[in-house]
Symmetry: C2
C-alpha cells in the first residue's frame, strides 16, 4: 500500500472513526484504525464492536485532487498514535507507505514516522446489511430527534433495555421514545422511504451511547441520512460515512398507556423564566433528597417553586404564568428532570398538563404534538 | 447587617475570593466566604489558610452607586451555595440581610433565599502585615514572571522547598527561580520600591500554587501591584484586592553554580519549527522512557531530533537552523521539559548553549539575559 493524501481530509476522517475506537478494549486489533486504499479512494475504519464507523475519502472532490494512489492495499495502525501523528504533521501533504512486516512509513516534509502496523486480515469485517428498506431523514432533524430523547435513557444497567432509545417505524412515521422509568421523552416525525411498502413496520432499540456518538459525528445540514434497520444492526449512511450500531436485544416496554390523555390543571409559562426559577430553587437541593423541588399554584396566575434543606437553608421562587387552567395543585418533582425536559423542548412558551399530585405530568410546546416530555412526580413527606 | 448591591460586582468579588476557598478543608468555617459591610463598602474574604484573598467593593465607583448600606455588620456564608446563588439571581440588584441566628436572606426580584450563616467571629483574622518596605511591579510583568518560572517547580513533596519559587530582591532587582532538580527557570526584572533602602535584601520561597492562583486572579493590565514581603507572609495588593500567601520554610538551594558560564556548541533556531518537531518526535515516547528525545547536529546547519520506542515505532525529524557554532553534539533530553521551556521564552528565535552531552544546557532568547531556561540531559544507553 502506498498513497499520498491531503492532510486536512485525513485528519477529519481519522477524527470521525476515532469516535468508535475504544483504547481500553480487550480485543487488540480494535485499538487500531484500518486504512484501505483502492483506485476510488481511502477508507478508514474504527470499531469498538458495538459501534463501527467507516469514513471514505475519494480520490478527488469538486475537481480537487485529494488522494494519489500508487499501490492499493490495507493496514491497521494504532489509533492512539496515528491520530496524534496526523494532526501534528508539518505539511499539507502526507505520504503513507506499508513496507515489510506491516511496518508503515508516514512522511510529511522533513518529518518521518515508522509505525509498527497490524495485519489488516485480522480486522473484523463490517456487518453486511441487506438494503431492502431504506429510510431517509434530514441530518438536522435526525440530530434534533436524538437530542430531544436520548438524555432520558437509563444510566443504570439494572434494566439494560432502558439504556437504549426505542425507534418505531409505522405508516411512514418514526417515533423515538426513551425512558428511565422516572421520566419519558417522545419525539416523532415523518420519514420518507425508498422501496418501503406502506405496511412496513420496525420496532428496535438503539443504544443511547450509539446515538450520542452518531449525533456528534453528523454535521448540521439538511442533507438526508439513509437509515437501514435490520434485526441486529442499524446503519446510518451519509455521503462519505457509514455508521453501524448494534441493537439492544429484548422487548421495549409498552409506554403508550403511561401517557395521560386528559388533564386537570394546565399551566402556560415562559420557558426561560420557569427554567431559571427551577434552576435556582434546586441549588440548595442538589446534595440531598435527589434534587426535588416543590411546585404550587398561587392566586393571580402565579406559581411558587420552593425547596428546603434544613441544614443549608430554603428558597422560594415566584413565577408569573401566561395562564393557569383548572384545579389548584401542589406537586413535587425532580428539578433535574424538569430542566432536561425544558431544554429538550426548544420552545419559548410551554404547556404543562397535570392530572393530580401523584400522577405523571406532561410538558409540551403549545401547538406541537410531535414532542412530549413526561415526568413522574416525587412523593414528599 | 443589611445592604443591597449590584449583582455583577458581587459575582466578580465572589469569584475572586473563591480562588482561595477549599471546599475540602477540615476547618468548617473556611468553607465559607466572610462578608463584612461598613460605610465604605463590602469586603469579601476567602481563605484556605495557605492563601487568603480579600476583595473590596466600594460604595461607589466613577460616580456609579454600587452598594447601599442600611446596616453595617458581617456574616459567613457557605461558599459552595453562596457562589452558585449569586451567579444565578434574576435581577441586577441583590439585597442581603442577616436576621436572627445568622439566618441570612438573599433577595433579587421574586427570588428569595434563606441561608444558614456562620458566626463571623469564628472566621480567622487576616495576617497583620507591617508595611515597612513596599515594592511595585506592573501587573502584566508580574504575570509574565510567574508564568515563565512557576511551571518548573517540583510537583513532588520529597523536597517541599522545591514546590515553591525562590524570590530574591537585591539592588532593586527581583529574581525568580524555580527548579525541580531536572530543570530550572530563572527570570529577573527591575522593581521599584517605596521607603526601600538600597541595601534591602529579601530571599523567600513562595508556594507555586499561590503564584498560580495569584496569576489567575490578576487582570492583564499595566497597573502596579504592591508587594510586601515579611518573614512568614507575602502580600500582593491591587486597587481592590488583597492576596496573602504563606511562605515556605527552609532555605532554597543555591542554584547559581548550576548555570554554566561558557558553552561548546551554540544553536540558533526558529522556536516554532523546533517546538513542533520536538512535539512530534515525542509522540511515540510519551508512555515509556520518560518522554526522552535524541538531538544531534548534522551537516549544513541541520539538526535531527529522533525517538524510538521498539514496540510502537520510530520517528526522525530534521530542522533547519539559523546557525550552529562550535562542536558537533549528540544529546538526549526530556521533550516535555524542552517544550515547557520554549513556551516560556516568548520569542520567535532562540539560542541553545551546550557544554557537552552530560552537562546542563541553556535555552535563551538571542539578546535578552533576563530569562534563562536550563535543562539537565538524560543519559541514554
Amino acid at each position: 500500500m502506498r498513497f499520498s493524501i491531503q492532510k486536512d481530509y485525513l485528519v477529519k476522517g481519522v477524527q470521525e472513526v476515532m469516535k468508535a475506537v475504544s483504547l481500553r478494549t480487550t480485543i487488540p486489533i480494535l485499538t487500531g484504525i484500518k486504512i484501505s486504499v483502492n483506485e476510488e479512494g481511502v477508507s478508514l475504519t474504527g470499531s469498538d464492536s458495538d459501534i463501527s464507523i467507516e469514513s471514505f475519502i475519494p480520490i478527488e472532490e469538486n475537481g480537487k485532487e485529494i488522494v494519489e494512489v500508487h499501490q492499493a492495499g490495507s493496514i491497521v495502525l494504532q489509533a492512539k498514535y496515528f491520530s496524534e501523528i496526523v494532526k501534528k504533521l508539518p505539511r499539507e501533504t502526507v505520504e503513507i507507505e506499508v513496507e515489510s512486516h506491516f511496518m508503515t512509513k508516514i512522511k510529511s516534509g522533513k518529518s518521518e514516522f515508522n509505525l509498527n502496523g497490524l495485519d489488516p486480515e485480522e480486522y473484523p469485517l463490517l456487518p453486511q446489511i441487506e438494503e431492502h428498506h431504506v429510510f431517509q431523514i434530514p441530518t438536522d432533524l435526525l440530530k434534533h430527534m436524538i437530542r430531544q430523547t436520548v438524555f432520558a435513557v437509563s444510566t443504570s444497567e439494572t434494566r439494560p433495555i432502558l439504556t437504549g432509545v426505542n425507534w418505531k417505524v409505522y405508516n411512514s412515521e418514526l417515533v423515538c421514545i426513551a425512558t428511565d422509568s422516572h421520566r419519558l421523552a417522545l419525539r416523532k416525525a415523518k420519514v420518507s422511504g425508498r422501496n418501503v411498502p406502506e405496511e412496513f413496520k420496525a420496532n428496535v432499540v438503539i443504544p443511547g451511547k450509539s446515538l450520542n456518538e452518531l449525533s456528534k459525528i453528523l454535521d448540521e445540514s439538511e442533507e438526508a441520512v439513509d437509515i437501514v434497520i435490520t434485526d441486529y444492526q442499524v446503519l446510518f449512511r451519509t455521503k462519505h460515512l457509514l455508521f453501524f450500531s448494534r441493537l439492544l436485544e429484548g422487548s421495549y416496554p409498552d409506554t403508550s398507556r403511561l401517557i395521560p390523555t386528559e388533564s386537570k390543571t394546565d399551566i402556560f409559562v415562559n420557558t426561560k423564566e420557569f427554567l431559571q426559577a427551577i434552576d435556582r430553587a434546586s441549588l440548595l437541593a442538589r446534595d440531598g433528597r435527589n434534587n426535588v423541588v416543590r411546585f404550587s399554584t398561587l392566586e393571580q396566575r402565579m406559581i411558587e417553586i420552593s425547596s428546603n434543606s434544613p441544614e443549608i437553608g430554603k428558597v422560594v421562587e415566584e413565577v408569573q404564568c401566561e395562564q393557569i387552567e383548572g384545579e389548584d395543585l401542589k406537586i413535587s418533582f425532580s428539578a433535574k428532570y424538569m430542566m432536561d425536559a425544558l431544554k429538550a423542548l426548544d420552545s419559548s412558551e410551554i404547556k404543562i398538563s397535570f392530572t393530580g399530585a401523584m400522577r405523571p405530568f406532561l410538558i409540551r410546546t403549545a401547538n406541537d404534538d410531535s414532542i412530549i416530555q413526561l415526568i413522574l412526580p416525587v412523593r414528599t413527606y
